[in-house]
């Protein structure tokens, strides 16, 4: 196939998948009945939110630094958007953006001191920052409603054309699902463009050999701060999307809370299982894992155990993640065939 044909077929696959995503709520409704369809649409919205968070986390990872503050910045974005709408009366459209900007501003404040350290020390800084946000939301009762959290059921993004009003966030969730797809797509598009342009190449150079990158004139600190701020902006938007979907936020320290530290770990897991080297890795990992989790509700509290086991298996047998399944299958096939024929795998 020529380069052009390859691009065309890739584009076609993309269009088909995108169309399927857009049709998902209808497929689920017709297949599973209205009630269940609504529940699944709710899950799909959460998947969208988490895809955005995981992809943003991977964007930071492109410079070689791992942030475990994802849930923390989702909390900042979510609370900022919700509070600005509920207490200052701003339009949810505006506060969705402002939530991202507040998260980005907070990230900008901490970025310089944080990037003075590298590797595991940076991870610890971001991890603890997430906890700080959680406890701040719990203790600053006057502003945030404290540990009980706060509700704002009457506030939803809406569009008014003439006398008709379209409210995103009705019982069927379908409008909100499309809003989520729209916002997440735009954010992912920008991240994709950045990764595949010159700045993405610079990030890669920092990840591979920061000493050399410095010596050819790359301002490493500036680039790391930039991507951290941009990623946290997108994570903040994910938090805002979540906030206007559930209409109730709380900082409770249970793993079920999306703002809890566990979410950051799950993001990391989705990224690794999907494939950290590919832009599509986090998308695939998040979708598969979250849908599997819903299908397997029966396992109850054993879920983290199973998820952990899956992670370990993937790390051992598919270090490039699920996106590289096509590469692994022929290798496994050859190995298996070799076993059955009694040969050593290497000679097969």
């Amino acid at each position: 196939m020529t380069e052009q044909q390859k691009r065309l077929s890739k584009g076609l696959v993309g269009v088909v998948i995108y169309a399927l995503v857009l049709a998902l709520p209808w497929i689920l409704r017709s297949g599973l009945g209205v009630g269940k369809g609504t529940y699944w649409t709710h899950i799909l919205i959460l998947v969208g939110v988490m895809i955005l968070s995981t992809s943003s986390m991977r964007a930071i990872f492109l410079t070689g630094e791992m942030s475990l503050g994802t849930a923390g910045f989702m909390l900042v974005g979510g609370y900022a958007a919700a509070l600005l709408s509920a207490k200052a009366g701003l339009s949810p459209w505006l506060t969705l953006l402002l939530g991202g900007l507040v998260a980005a501003a907070v990230a900008g404040l901490v970025a310089y001191p944080f990037f003075r350290v590298k590797g595991i020390y940076f991870v610890i800084c971001t991890l603890l920052l997430g906890f700080i946000f959680l406890y701040m939301a719990g203790y600053f009762k006057g502003l945030t409603g404290g540990w009980q959290g706060f509700q704002f059921y009457d506030i939803s993004p809406q569009i008014t054309v003439g006398s008709r009003t379209l409210k995103f966030g009705t019982k069927t969730n379908i409008e909100y699902f499309y809003l989520t797809v729209f916002v997440v797509s735009i954010c992912l598009f920008f991240m994709y463009r950045m990764e595949h342009s010159r700045v993405g190449m610079v990030w890669k150079s920092i990840r591979e050999a920061d000493v050399l990158a410095k010596s050819v004139g790359v301002n490493i600190m500036a680039h790391k701060i930039f991507i951290f701020v941009v990623a946290c902006f997108f994570i903040g938007i994910a938090g805002g999307l979540f906030a206007f979907h559930v209409h109730a936020l709380s900082p409770t320290s249970t793993p079920a809370n999306i703002f809890h530290f566990f979410t950051s770990v799950y993001c990391l897991m989705y990224m690794v299982v999907g494939g950290a080297n590919s832009f599509y890795g986090p998308i695939l990992g998040t979708s598969l894992f979250m849908v599997l989790r819903e299908l397997g509700r029966a396992v109850g509290e054993y879920w983290p155990m199973i998820a952990g086991a899956v992670l370990i298996l993937v790390v051992f047998f598919m270090p490039k993640g699920l996106v590289a399944t096509g590469e692994y299958l022929p290798v496994w096939y050859r190995k298996l065939r070799g076993l059955f024929k009694g040969k050593t795998p290497s000679s097969a």
Partner: protein, 257 residues
């Protein structure tokens, strides 16, 4: 007028004087060798020039500009490139991409094209790739352009390190032990390459090297450092006969020799 002037350059690590009160000039167009026994402070000198370490005291003036204490990327921006001691490369990028990355300072894109690409970014990328191919031809790696840097043999990786540094288009190039771990044939190949580069591009070079034969044959002038101090300076002839140099390398006692 010297290209780079170091005056009273010192670096202390705790109680250890790694480099103390060092004065030397690098003249435009020359190849200056810095030699000395192990632990003499040679690499520390490079690290201070390149901004990896801040000098404890002293000044570095490059092209009439004080660059003392500049961070690494600003040093590169003022026109100094460096080849590291080990083979420091972008290992999982192709040979060509390594050189293209080396040309970071010559990207010359608007911030929008830099972040999001587009037609002008593609055109610029093509131009940079053509330029990178020229550099690869110069160092004799054009056939390996699509190989991963980590798959190259040691000698070729060394050449690639040089190519990446050349892509910076520096006025001054610092080579940290360019021929370590090479056999005689590779050494002479590398030396020919460095000489050819100087002739073709008018580059000024500073070379740290352990291989005496290589340094003596290559450098116009040599600075000898021992225990962080300059003990001699001059042509290779002068250096080879200097009693202080012989003492530093061989010692005075018969036992130590």
């Amino acid at each position: 007028m010297a290209l780079l002037e170091a005056r009273g350059l010192s670096k202390r690590f705790g109680g250890l004087d790694a480099v103390s009160e060092l004065d030397f000039d690098v003249n435009e167009g020359e190849i200056l060798g810095i030699i000395g026994p192990n632990g003499a402070g040679k690499s520390t000198i490079f690290n201070m020039i390149c901004g990896t370490f801040k000098p404890t005291s002293g000044t570095l003036v490059f092209r009439d500009k004080d660059i003392t204490g500049y961070s690494s990327h600003r040093v590169a921006r003022s026109g100094i490139a460096r080849v590291f001691q080990g083979n420091v490369l972008f290992p999982s990028s192709t040979v060509l991409d390594n050189v293209v990355m080396g040309a970071h300072l010559h990207t010359r894109l608007s911030w929008f094209s830099f972040l999001f690409g587009g037609p002008s970014a593609r055109r610029r990328d093509k131009a940079l790739r053509t330029r990178a191919m020229e550099i690869l031809e110069l160092v004799g790696l054009s056939e390996d352009a699509d190989t991963l840097a980590s798959d190259l043999p040691h000698g070729n990786q060394r050449h690639l390190c040089l190519a990446v540094a050349l892509a910076v288009e520096p006025k001054l190039l610092l080579l940290d032990e360019p021929v370590t771990g090479m056999n005689t044939e590779e050494v002479s190949e590398m030396l020919d390459l460095v000489r050819m580069l100087r002739e073709k591009t008018g580059l000024t070079l500073v070379v740290i090297e352990h291989n005496m034969k290589a340094v003596m044959g290559l450098c116009d002038r040599i600075v000898v450092v021992s225990h962080g101090r300059k003990i001699a300076e001059g042509t290779s002839q002068m250096i080879a006969n200097d009693p202080a140099v012989i003492e530093a390398y061989l010692g005075v006692d018969d036992d130590a020799a």
